[in-house]
Amino acid sequence: MSIKTNFVSCTAATLLVATLSVVTPALASDAGAFIGGVLATKVISNMNRQTEAQERQAYNSSRQAAPAPAPAPAPAPAPAAQTPEQRIAQLDKLAAGGYITPEEYKAKKKAIIDSM
C-alpha cells in the first residue's frame, strides 16, 4: 500500500515537473521588460480601449436620448399682397425704365385689371 502510494506520488510529481518545464519559457538573452514593460503596456492599452469604448457608448446613448432635431426655420413670410394700384404703379416704373416692352406692359396691365 505504501509503495503504491509512493509510486503514485512520484508519478504525479514527475508529471507536474514535466508540465511546468513545458509551460516555463526558457529565458532568452534579449528578453524585454515584464512588469514595467509588457504588463504596463497591456494594462494601459486596455484602459485606453475601455475608455474609448465607454466614450463611444456614452456618445451613442446621448445621441439616442437627444430630442429630434429642431425643425428648419419657417420661410420668411411672403410680402403682403399688393393692391392693383400698387401693381400698376410698379408696372409703370418697369415700363419707364425700359425693362418691359409696351406689349408686355399692356398685357400685364390688362391681367391686373382682369383680376380685380
Partner: protein, 139 residues
C-alpha cells in the same frame, strides 16, 4: 474551566507546530521558485479614475514565474517573447515574500503571502498605476 485548559493548550500546540508546517509544505520559503497566476487587475490614472477587470480581460500573461536563484520574475508574452523583470530588492519576513524592482521609469513591488500564496503586484508610473492580484505556488 479545568476541562477547557487542556483543549486550549492543544489548540496552541497545534498552531505552534502545524501551521508553520503548512507554510513549509507549500514551499513558499523565498528560496523555491514559484509559478504565479494573475487573476484580477485594478488600474488607476491620475485623472478619470480606475478600471478593474480580470487579468484575462486585460490580456495579461497567464502565468508569471519567480526565479529566486536568478533574482527575476519572468513570463512569456502573446508573441512568445520572454519578458523579464530583475528583482532589485527582496525581503523575506515571517509572513510574506516582498520583491521590488524598477523598469522603464516604473517601480514595482510584489508581495506574496507565505501561508496561502496570495499575491499582489503593484506598479506605479507617471501615467497609470496598477495592481495585479493572484496566487503563487511552488514549481
Amino acid at each position: 474551566m479545568r476541562n477547557k485548559l487542556p483543549s486550549i493548550m492543544q489548540v496552541i500546540g497545534f498552531m505552534t507546530f502545524f501551521l508553520p508546517a503548512i507554510g513549509q509544505a507549500a514551499g513558499l520559503d523565498g528560496k523555491s521558485n514559484l509559478v504565479c497566476a494573475a487573476v484580477d487587475v485594478i488600474a488607476c490614472t491620475n485623472g478619470p479614475g480606475c478600471r478593474e477587470g480580470s487579468a484575462n480581460s486585460f490580456e495579461l500573461p497567464q502565468f508569471m514565474f519567480v526565479d529566486f536563484k536568478k533574482q527575476q520574475i519572468h513570463a512569456t508574452d502573446e508573441t512568445g517573447l520572454d519578458v523579464v523583470s530583475p528583482i532589485r530588492n527582496s525581503e523575506i519576513t515571517e509572513q510574506r515574500i516582498i520583491l521590488q524592482g524598477t523598469e522603464n521609469h516604473r517601480g514595482w513591488s510584489a508581495s506574496i503571502d507565505k501561508a496561502d500564496g496570495k499575491m499582489t503586484v503593484t506598479s506605479s508610473g507617471p501615467d497609470v498605476s496598477f495592481m495585479v492580484f493572484g496566487a503563487c505556488t511552488t514549481r
